[in-house]
């Protein structure tokens, strides 16, 4: 059997290897290799998408190897236990949520690699870090072991730090530090939460009853879900009298702690309202192709983690905290929209709009039902494409005008008709025009939520109107109105720049017209989670 998933996750390393062999003066060759290396995982991802969806009919690819198995000391429990180990499996799987996200990541990354033609300095190291980042992102969406997920999740910090800190704009180092510390904090809390779950639900017992036991601590997601939903397991057995204590019992206090830590950890990445300041800086200071990845993929890791690891592991906590989640989501939507409205810098407007749109993901999750969850995932994928498209265009704009301030720009539709049209299209997708991807996503989130918390769904609906206001204000101000004399000589997009924009637009339209391309593979993963929730209710 071909290890397709490993090939996919580590295919960018081929590019890294080739790039490191080429001398740094051969800029053109380096760029070709960089782009080709990003196209390779895209081809693999598309192949896997068709393979899973068409060939296997809902079946999912899985790869699993034993990786780390550390024996633990058992002298304190010697007579009862024969062995005890801590295991991390190399476990990749692409079922359910992962499939559309992996494809989205591969597309956005390939387009960003293409858009990286604007990078003029240190091209070799740029593409090396870029591809190393892609390994992390692909791995995050496929890992099914908590610690493997964490490894990929944390690894993305390092290439991002370099990409922001070296190739960013004037205040790049500050932005890189801010990024590092906030995200580091997020992943630190994540690790503690994962360890709480591993130290309790991660325990599995092997061996026959009566004989000495073989205990295994592992971060395996599926097994952990099984343990948590099994009333007879160690995790859910209340400690009896003092003679038969159970150190693996997940008490209510611990469960809540783990939930809060998970929410904070993924919330920082998402980002939720008070923890968003780092991402504003990154949006403004990072080079635009990197922002495409950051806004298009990296922020989505938070939302994905919240569903795949948060909701799936601790459904009861999510159900009982769903009102809080909805309120956080609403704060994000309204706060993001209001601040987006007053921004004078297009990149900041888009950053705040990302905050606003991520609020819909939270609303979809808060619904805790089929439709809401579908909406959340659809929103993740759709916004990934939309913001990538936006920042691709912002990159083209910046290259021409040197500024992306709304008050300095205007009337660009005359000189740059194609660019302006694309910008308008991205804006329409972002405000939720039917037929484009944003519409279905937000509709489903609100629809799902309406059944549970109608008031929240109504306030959330307000957010869609607000988004129309701020998006149109920003985009129209740039494309229409008087043209500044400085920009009278600008030339419209070259074909080489237009291709990625067209591809991203196509993706947005395809999802808008045929949301099933996302929801069909997702359905299976969601059903699983919904089943757990309903069992818990």
């Amino acid at each position: 059997m071909v290890p397709w998933l490993t090939l996919l996750a580590f295919s960018p390393l081929v590019g890294v290897l080739l790039l490191s062999l080429v001398p740094h003066e051969r800029v053109k060759l380096l760029r070709c290799i960089g782009i080709a290396a990003a196209l390779l995982p895209l081809l693999l991802a598309l192949f896997i998408y068709t393979y899973v969806n068409v060939g296997g009919q809902g079946s999912s690819l899985t790869e699993r190897y034993n990786w780390i198995a550390i024996p633990l000391n058992i002298e304190a429990i010697q007579p009862y236990v024969q062995s005890w180990s801590f295991e991390i499996d190399y476990h990749l799987s692409i079922g359910g949520l992962s499939l559309p996200l992996v494809v989205m990541t591969a597309i956005v990354t390939a387009m960003a690699a293409w858009a990286s033609l604007t990078i003029k300095q240190r091209v070799k190291s740029y593409y090396i870090w870029f591809l190393l980042l892609e390994v992390g992102m692909l791995g995050v969406f496929m890992a099914r072991d908590l610690f493997l997920f964490f490894l990929f999740f944390e690894w993305t910090l390092v290439p991002m730090f370099f990409l922001i800190g070296i190739w960013g704009f004037a205040k790049r180092e500050k932005a890189a530090n801010r990024f590092l510390v906030y995200n580091g904090l997020g992943s630190a809390l994540l690790l503690v939460a994962f360890l709480i779950l591993t130290a309790t639900a991660g325990l599995s017992v092997r061996g026959e009853a009566g004989a000495p036991l073989h205990l295994v601590y592992s971060g395996d997601l599926e097994q952990m879900i099984r343990q948590l939903s099994d009333a007879q397991s160690f995790v859910n057995t209340l400690p009896g009298p003092a003679s038969s204590f159970n150190p693996f019992y997940l008490s209510e206090a611990w469960r809540t702690t783990a939930f809060v830590l998970l929410l904070l950890a993924f919330g920082i990445k998402l980002p939720i309202f008070p923890f968003h300041t780092w991402m504003l800086r990154v949006h403004v200071e990072a080079p635009t192709p990197v922002v495409m990845l950051h806004s298009g993929v990296l922020l989505k890791m938070g939302a994905y983690g919240l569903i795949q690891f948060g909701v799936a592991l601790l459904p009861q906590s999510f159900v009982s905290w769903s009102t809080v989640l909805a309120i956080i989501g609403l704060i994000n939507i309204v706060y993001g929209a209001l601040l987006a409205y007053v921004q004078k810098e297009l990149r900041l407007l888009l950053a705040y709009s990302s905050i606003s749109h991520m609020g819909f993901v939270l609303l979809g999750i808060a619904a805790m039902n089929d439709i809401g969850m579908q909406g959340a995932v659809l929103q993740i994928v759709s916004h990934g494409f939309i913001s990538a498209l936006f920042f691709l265009l912002v990159g083209c704009l910046l290259e021409r005008t040197g500024t992306s301030r709304i008050d300095e720009l205007g009337g660009l539709a005359k000189r740059l008709p194609f660019l302006s049209a694309m910008l308008l299209l991205a804006g329409l997708a972002s405000l939720g025009l039917p037929g484009l991807s944003g519409f279905m996503a937000e509709l489903l989130s609100l629809l799902g939520l309406y059944g549970q918390l109608p008031w929240a769904a109504i306030v959330g609906g307000l957010g869609i109107i607000l988004s129309a206001v701020y998006v149109l204000r920003g985009v129209l101000a740039i494309t229409y109105g008087p043209l500044d004399m400085r920009f009278a000589q600008l030339k419209d997009t070259r074909a080489v720049e237009a291709v990625p924009a067209v591809i991203l637009t196509l993706a947005i339209i395809v999802i808008g017209v045929l949301p099933a391309v996302v929801t069909m593979p997702v359905q299976q993963g969601i059903e699983h989670i919904i089943h757990i929730i309903q069992a818990g209710r």
Partner: protein, 560 residues
């Protein structure tokens, strides 16, 4: 218990003490030859000779361990072998720690061979044959089962270290550091002796096994004294391992010491004392009611364990917080690494303090996590010091600035340093990350959640500190610390078609100071970087080995 006071030393015992004796013989031979040789003869070979001695010693340790491992696999585990009237023990605990100490010393000697020049240190012979007694002290320390032997080992290590710090006679900082080190180090030794005297007073014994046994019977009568003695010991050892709040000496001393010696202090010296503390805490304070093996505590004696555990964990938490926050504004590299050593002492104290006797947990893997973190820390820190030694050679200030633009000057060195920095910060996929992961797992499994959170938050703060190296190496110009002037990523001319422009890929300044990478130092950096990655990816064999060998009941509690 051993009642016979005098045991003649057998020939076979000499074989068991081969690691120590090798070093003793090497020191004697080297010092005599150095004395007799006329001044005109070059002494470079002494470094090589001391390296050989350490490697031979390491070989014998590993040979013994392999032997014991095969016995353990075959089912007949060799227990503790006691020598010299029970005051010296050959056990797996000591042997495993010795591996780390000797590897650390070997790497330090290699750095010294590449780094130490005649112009810097006039007495190169002395330098090398002082390193050997220092590590010999460490070996004695981790093998001793008697307070007297233990103290002899400790002082051998300390006094040799004082001399090594002071060896740059003409350098004022070196003298200042050495002076501080001697004064505070001796004070710490005094604390330790004072604490030991109470232990002796309570139990009438200096042998650890006898002390544990006596305490098990009569601890209730002496509780206040026991606490006093314990606190005095912890203060003393706290100084020696530079744990907060007893860390103030370490930045000054590291700054004054030659770079390889700073590496030695932060790895070998710290590791040896921590291991000793591990033995003391588990043997006397945690285990005093369990002369016959492990078991759960009766409620009567539980509180002293809990108190010791709490005090150790508090010192650990304080060290992490102080070490990382003080490093935030530190620009001098050696001081920064000294503070990083403080924080790491904190991480290493966690497995010491995790109470395995509380009934809420089954966890007892304290030693293997401790050992793994120690060896990961050893490779990482020594690697970082080796890079530092090369980068800061010839610069007066030894500031972070000297790392600026390192990527352009010596790319491979910069890559290696990045690996070390990531490992120190605890970012995958490095040994430092897995070391922290295993320690954290222990903390969470024993329900010490507060500690786990402090550990993680301090390691995030340390991201900022350690990534300072990366900022300088990759993002700064090496002539000035200002931002790269050329880095304006957006070109305003659209016409400059892709690839037609002149190659601007290389922004590095044209004239810069070359970094001389000597073979010895380069080997240290390469080995350490490889070890940091390999330990992370393939820990299974090694950890199985450690786990099979070490048994808390046999190696730490076994009374004679």
């Amino acid at each position: 218990m051993n009642t016979q006071l005098y045991q003649p030393l057998q020939g076979s015992d000499l074989l068991l003490m081969a690691p120590e004796l090798t070093l003793v013989i090497a020191v004697i031979v080297m010092s005599i030859v150095d004395l007799l040789l006329p001044r005109s003869i070059n002494r470079s070979w002494i470094g090589g000779m001391s390296l050989i001695a350490v490697l031979v010693s390491l070989g014998t340790v590993i040979w013994t361990l392999v032997d014991r491992y095969q016995d353990a696999i075959a089912g007949h585990k060799v227990g503790v072998i006691e020598l010299l009237g029970g005051s010296y023990r050959i056990d797996d605990f000591g042997l495993l720690i010795k591996v780390v100490l000797l590897i650390g010393t070997a790497l330090v000697i290699l750095i010294s061979i590449g780094h130490i020049r005649e112009s810097d240190i006039q007495h190169r012979g002395e330098y090398y044959y002082l390193l050997l007694p220092a590590v010999l002290g460490g070996l004695v320390l981790v093998s001793s089962a008697d307070l007297i032997t233990l103290f002899v080992g400790l002082e051998l290590l300390s006094i040799s270290s004082y001399l090594l710090v002071a060896i740059r006679k003409r350098d004022r900082r070196s003298t200042e550091g050495a002076y501080k080190y001697i004064v505070l180090g001796s004070t710490a030794s005094a604390f330790i002796l004072y604490g030991m005297s109470f232990l002796y007073g309570m139990t009438g014994a200096t042998h650890l096994g006898q002390i544990a046994e006596a305490l098990a019977q009569n601890a209730d009568q002496f509780l206040p004294l026991l606490y006093l003695s314990m606190l005095l010991l912890l203060v003393g050892f706290g100084f020696k391992i530079a744990a907060a709040p007893f860390h103030a000496w370490s930045p000054d001393v590291y700054e004054g010491a030659p770079t390889p010696i700073a590496a030695f202090l932060s790895v070998v010296s710290k590791g040896a004392v921590l291991a000793l503390l591990f033995r003391l805490v588990f043997h006397i304070l945690f285990g005093f009611q369990y002369a016959d093996g492990l078991g759960y505590l009766s409620s009567a004696g539980a509180f002293i364990n809990e108190d010791v555990s709490l005090i150790l964990l508090s010192i650990a938490a304080l060290s992490m917080i102080v070490g990382t926050t003080m490093a935030l504004r530190q620009v001098k590299v050696k001081r920064l690494l000294a503070l990083s050593g403080v924080a790491n002492a904190g991480y290493l104290l966690v497995p010491l303090g995790l109470n395995i006797f509380q009934p809420t947990a089954w966890y007892s893997s304290n030693f293997s996590t401790f050992w793994y973190y120690l060896i990961a820390y050893a490779f990482t820190t020594i690697g970082a010091f080796a890079v530092l030694a090369m980068v800061c050679r010839g610069t007066e200030h030894e500031e972070l600035k000297s790392f600026a633009g390192l990527y352009y000057r010596a790319p491979w060195l910069a890559v290696a340093m990045t690996i070390f920095v990531l490992s120190l910060a605890g970012i995958p996929i490095t040994a430092g990350f897995f070391g922290k992961l295993y320690i954290l797992l222990g903390a969470v499994a024993t329900h010490a959640l507060w500690l786990a959170i402090i550990m993680m938050v301090t390691s995030v703060i340390s991201f900022y500190v350690y990534f300072g190296f990366i900022r300088h190496m990759f993002m700064r110009d090496c002539e000035s610390v200002s931002h790269l002037q050329t880095a304006q990523p957006q070109s305003f001319e659209l016409e400059s078609e892709v690839g037609l422009e002149s190659p601007k890929g290389h922004v590095g300044p044209v004239s810069f100071k070359r970094i001389h990478v000597s073979v010895a130092s380069g080997a240290v950096v390469a080995c350490s970087a490889a070890a940091v990655i390999i330990l992370a990816i393939f820990p299974n064999e090694l950890m199985t080995w450690v786990n099979t060998l070490l048994s808390l009941a046999n190696d730490i509690y076994a009374a004679s």
